[in-house]
Symmetry: D2
Subunit: 512 residues, 4 copies
């Protein structure tokens, strides 16, 4: 998912300052809690107080109310997420920045006062524009956009126009919609998964354009199945947002963290007030120089949860900002989340699901089906560890992102999270019976069975194929993905290891 800028902007304002006829329109949006406006106390523009008589509120549906008419007994509903347009009779404002101060009384907040800089923008730039309309997902505008692209670029959009999904389902998923990418799906499996959530045999959809990928996973699946299937377990689960607070000095930052720890209960309540799903597990504080980084860790149900935890953390931080003196700067994100990034902290402390797939590969089956001995796989694993250490890689395995990406595309995940999800930790060990224990930990697998692209047409069918539709299915999906990933590790590691033909080469080599 993607951090929506709306939660990153100033609370209660969305700043659409515009000239309309002989008046000015300005909007405020409620981003915190349901409330009621009981009084408009004052509004100033560039320091000039506007007479209350010149102020009115546009309540939508062609209803307006005079500022002077608002009172406790005639309050204006201002529910969460509602935007109110304020109309001020005034001269037109020049292009450029203007300062608006607004003071109101709202229930249950009491007196509120904001000061906001906003601009009248000169909008003649960017002459070529992609067509848009109020109903931006209707047939006509989509066709207009497609035709526009064809005309502007000379490309023919024959296949992109071909789709069966209903564009109206795409609100909240994409803007300027103009068709679909057709990504081929190949089927693999069934793979036998011995999970806590996924139990049984699963046919797996892999959306990819890379030849041999499906075949390679199928080879690995066969070996896993012959060895009794793959054991999968979700061993961690957390989604993060990591704001930073700047202080005058290091000492103040340290003292702030102590205060945060003492006020954890209240902070948690504020965070959790924004959603019925997000639960704050714990806050990891990190101190450096004059900064306090707070890494909020949440559980987010069946959703991946990046937006959810963004809102929750913003709410918690608003409370903190209101209740702690001495914060000099605050940013909702500090590159400590670490969203869309491979990082050591994700490897250590989980982002999304932390999931392990394990199997004991029977010696005979490895030799018969993969032409490789367990010792050889283990030996290559040891050398790959050396390679990973020297190269500074986030994965000592072979290619876990291949399965992860193909299943992400198929099932409607946020595919950019392959960044985090690419990390992997393979461990192999010869058993006393000379079989091979092999396992992979995926420490930051970011997935959802709800929200994002999971409800779209083909994506939902793929989730259905895996039995992952409905409440409480996200861990099941994690286990299946991990199982498929391990199949691929077995397959590719075997292929690499079976090329270790030096001795036979020396003995029977060419040119003798």
């Amino acid at each position: 998912m993607f951090i929506p800028s709306m939660i990153l902007k100033q609370l209660y304002t969305n700043g659409s300052l515009t000239n309309i006829d002989s008046a000015i329109k300005f909007s405020i949006k409620n981003r915190l809690k349901d409330s009621k406006l009981t009084e408009i106390k004052s509004i100033s523009i560039n320091g000039n107080k506007i007479p209350l008589e010149n102020i009115s509120l546009d309540l939508g549906n062609k209803t307006t109310i005079q500022a002077t008419s608002i009172s406790k007994s005639n309050s204006v509903d201002f529910p969460l997420k509602k935007t109110l347009d304020i109309i001020v009779i005034s001269d037109k404002l020049d292009v450029g920045k203007h300062e608006i101060e607004i003071s109101v009384i709202a229930n249950p907040f009491g007196k509120l006062k904001f000061s906001v800089d906003d601009s009248i923008v000169d909008t003649k730039a960017n002459v070529i524009r992609i067509p848009r309309s109020d109903d931006d997902y209707c047939k006509e505008i989509i066709k207009e956009r497609q035709d526009f692209i064809e005309k502007e670029t000379g490309a023919k959009l024959e296949h992109i126009r071909n789709y069966s999904l209903d564009p109206n389902t795409l609100k909240g998923n994409i803007e300027n919609f103009g068709g679909v990418a057709q990504i081929p799906i190949g089927f693999a499996g069934p793979i036998t998964v011995n999970g806590e959530h996924a139990k049984g045999d699963f046919l797996v959809p892999l959306a990819t354009t890379e030849g041999t990928l499906v075949a390679s996973y199928n080879r690995g699946i066969k070996v896993l199945n012959l060895c009794g299937g793959v054991t999968c377990s979700v061993i961690g689960d957390a989604m993060q947002r990591a704001p930073v607070f700047e202080f005058e000095n290091a000492r103040n930052a340290r003292d702030f963290v102590k205060w945060v720890q003492e006020n954890l209960k209240k902070i948690s309540e504020e965070a959790e007030s924004t959603s019925s799903i997000a639960k704050l597990q714990y806050i990891d504080p990190f101190l450096a120089n004059k900064f306090a980084f707070l890494r909020f860790n949440y559980s987010t149900g069946d959703a991946a949860g990046q937006n959810m935890v963004g809102r929750a953390t913003f709410s918690a931080c608003s409370w903190i900002l209101d209740n702690y003196k001495g914060i000099q700067h605050f940013y909702l994100e500090s590159n400590f989340a670490t969203d869309k990034k491979a990082s050591q902290i994700n490897i250590m402390r989980t982002r999304g699901k932390r999931v392990v797939a394990e199997a004991v590969l029977k010696r005979d089956i490895l030799i018969q089906h993969m032409r490789v001995e367990p010792e050889s796989l283990a030996h290559h694993g040891s050398i790959a560890n050396v390679g990973s250490f020297l190269s500074g890689a986030n994965n000592n395995g072979a290619h876990s992102p291949n399965a992860i990406t193909a299943m992400f595309i198929a099932t409607g995940q946020d595919v950019a999270n392959v960044s985090e999800s690419s990390a992997g930790l393979v461990y192999t060990e010869l058993t006393k019976e000379k079989d091979l224990y092999i396992s992979i930990t995926i420490p930051s697998l970011i997935i959802a069975t709800y929200g994002g692209g999971t409800g779209l047409a083909t994506q939902r069918e793929c989730l259905d194929m895996l039995g992952c539709i409905g409440k409480g299915k996200v861990n099941k999906l994690a286990e299946i993905i991990a199982g498929v990933v391990l199949a691929g590790e077995v397959s590719l590691a075997s292929a690499i290891s079976s090329s270790d033909w030096v001795s036979s080469h020396e003995e029977y080599g060419r040119n003798r």
Copy 2:
């Protein structure tokens, strides 16, 4: 792309040992060079020499030739990639492993001798099987697979069945094809790119299911355009394969590397003999313990090139193995490539394209359009550096993988390469005029305009939209992607920075 196991298996054999009636079939495949068989000298199974009279070759098209009939004047064509089936009249072999020795004379190789272990496999495992057929991309088998999936899983494949691409184009792209994922495409731009290869305004297809993504990039594009566009440059280009050679001790590994450096010309010739495109740039040697890692760096034209460099490196290593004594083990890959992995070496030394996007953001435009001052963006950048350092992230920017992934899906890239491509290095600086210089280096952007999924139906249309079809377009694509990425950095960083509202909050805050 994906390492095809074929090149990782033993040279000249593909090991399909099977019992057929009263004979045994065994296949050999030419993986090196065009050649001609001029004599079958001998074949032994489990040490028992087979009378030449009992041996024949199945040349395909119902033609066979007796081993005794092969001679210099009656040679058998054996071009590169051709598989020959050898039929040996014999008793059936038991389930399990068997050793086959084969000795032939081939032109231009001379006498060749191989010893191979292969197995007769008991194939009763895995009772449920996904339907396949000889023509695995025809309508019937695709439908059979779809019906099978529906029956086995209970899921309805209504939308997955809907596609306009021609399945016959998918050979080499996917196995067990059963339909497509429909990924919505939104259009952004046009973005003004001042590249060396991309010059002008480009409309950009973004395939994603993440709401606000297209809108956010569009916001950034608008700012870049108003500031004169984005300057993009490809500053590096290399694709790698990294074999490892094991020796008795560290000293031998070190001496081997010296020998490699002295024989670079010959090694280069062997590597480049496998393709007219791949050019070996240099070999980076890394020594540790008793191992010598050789990281081969190639240029690969318009292809991403992972397969190409795999074949080239395998060929080079075959020559090395034939010409250097004392190698105890050899693996074609060592986790030093580092394919499908985020790694420090990729950041340092480039994988795929190393591309930079740069812009000077005008103070006024930032303030008017993004409501943020250059100083604030620079300040947040400094703090994000601290966050990245502490968290060990591979990217000190905001979210470059969002654009990369959406464009990868749209244009037929190997999306799993988001693993490497996720790295990014943002640098900001206030100019003397108090504008903001901002740039991002993407050190390992792995892309192609040829091969992989780039030729498929919708993918090709998207490349067409960007003017990236035809020879020599891969750097153009790199520049456009980098430009879009920078737009997203500007957009999200502004959103985060404009939330730095502490002082106004303190002054005018709630509850007073």
Copy 3:
């Protein structure tokens, strides 16, 4: 400090199995708690039970007691750390491994039963031996060793023999003592430190052989003093030991961690029972594959505490091992501590002290004394960040380990901890007044004012010079070191930045 092997060996045995005349001697050592032996139940060697009559205990001071005489009323004192020698009349044992089983009743433990493999060693190897004696720190043996070294190596030990420290103070600090290294000490300062623990001006001893080091720090100190001194704060404090527990599978490892968290109080008690100083702050659990890593974090008073936390963690783990079923392997250390290593976890989560030094450098003073403008220092800092990111360095500053090492040698620290202590995080920022805020975080500074080498002759004098002798002085020392480190950053960064003479070079360059 150094992990003493004693705590890593098997509990209650030190395994000195030896043949003496017609008997066998075997020792047991109490490593847990004061106790009393009230009965020897049985002893078997290689499965053969020894008659109790043939067993006696050597209590030291030429006193022995028959096993048969031991009883509740005639118990044998067995305090913590005491070693008891058990004498068994028996034939001599062959060279090689033997198994000894011993069963006793001890108060307050109840019945204890051990099985131990021990070996009779053939001790003829290593014919040349460094001389040792019972009183290994007396004059005579030291001279014997020195003479031995001179004779064996031909080197003259003229200066090494010159020392004023009392060798008897070295027990617990060094073995095979033979003289001293004379490391020159230069004085720097006084530096004005505005700490919470260190307040005032401090003259600083730097033990080094690197020319210009003392002078460079002095230059930096002068600048800091002119700007009002350096503000130093300890913002974190923890010492770790990180055992690992291996299970049958990942799921069991995960469940174990839950159990640990539920039993934290008891585990904490066990850990803290071993010392009056070590306090368990928290346990960081990390799961991967089938392993549970527990990173124990302690506060350790004025000691660095590595040994202390090793003992405490061992005690806690012993309780865990006794009370949790299903642990397959256990190691007291797992490379997660991470002792004597530079690591991301140390940077993130503190090892030893986390300490920050801060200053605002006045523009005028920088220009006059360092010939550099604040902007130039800030600019070089930004570029050094890029260099650090690309090179994967654990420090974005200039050379903090120089001061740290020189002060470690002078004040008796474990100098090998420079490994961890080398990490550093510099942050610079131009103030509104165009001065330069600069700070450095040292996230893992491992120091002591008690224990280790801090009590030795010159080392104690250096600590005395800093006013760091006596209880509760370790944070004071941390602050002073951090202050000196920042002085060096200012000095070297200025020197590098003042070389940024390109423009003047271009204008007035040579050869025109």
Copy 4:
């Protein structure tokens, strides 16, 4: 070693601008090459040209020469490192910055012109000063400093005053000398080293205050000796300086790197002109954003070489700056060296010596002497790899910095280089005979047998003990250190592994 700021300041000037009576003194220093001044063309102060008659040169030894008297036939010798004081008759300059321009003709340079800002400093700050004198290493001033410290701090410097070294040998090693730290030395070994440079048995001096360290290394040495000694090899050698060049944009930086590669021969000549020892091996270029980082790699003979390569690189860069247009900023160091830092690039590409120690540990000897089976050591090694991967450590071994630090202190190395030298890579493997192959790579061991502290009193004796005095001994020292390090790995890993007593504990545990 330490970057001396002298080479970082502006060429040919050391900026000691001072008022003397009715004249001004200004100094220039030759930092490049022996030369002769054949004409003073002009000198201006703050833009005002000084009449040549008012200018004279102080040649030292009370000799002066008028500027007007200097000519080709009456040239002034200006050898490398010589400082000339220029006296200008003029009014006193105010406190603050002044600009001096000087134009001369010098042989072999031709016409040289410099412009320098320098300051008249107000020197009343820092009232308490450590005593210094012209002969700063004589008895009297040392005593004065010691007494000063005692008086100011109240500490008694009884032992610090005790030393046998000759303070006059310390010029170039330390400033403000005031005594020595006495670091106890313990002897270990002899250790049998099978090196290419070190062959035979070596008694090893370890300077440490950490109890059990010497004993533990001795235990490991015994095992190595019983197994035939330790095989050591130096497999890499390079010392770096990494300047950075900033350009207008990324493209220019890329083009600059091409130019550098084309002019490598000339750059190399300039670099090597500064020393007879330093040889430029290769330049590693790294591009990011608008920066070109050039990592110069040198061999430096028996010296560690940090200063030597600083000078060489500065000379090379001076030539580059004179011959390439468009460089906007230049810094001699960019945090890419990476001096005094643990870094991935040091691990990958060597800093100092890259050295490997290897041994095959016999099964019986391990069991008899260390009470551990090879399998157990290998198993713990595998788990430690997991721990290292998760924690982001620069060393997957146990404690290599312990030996390195103790030998660094004893033999006069720059101990702060423990930062780089702390990296290590342990690899273990069971042999077919069930013995244990174990090796450690130390990728960045920074040592010298010449220069720095290696010539001081006790330090030289310790080098003598190891047979490492004289030309060409630095690799011998590297091999011995590596051998001792491996002994410590064997010793501590055995201790940890032999604590893996879970199964016996479960069987025979307490409280049953």
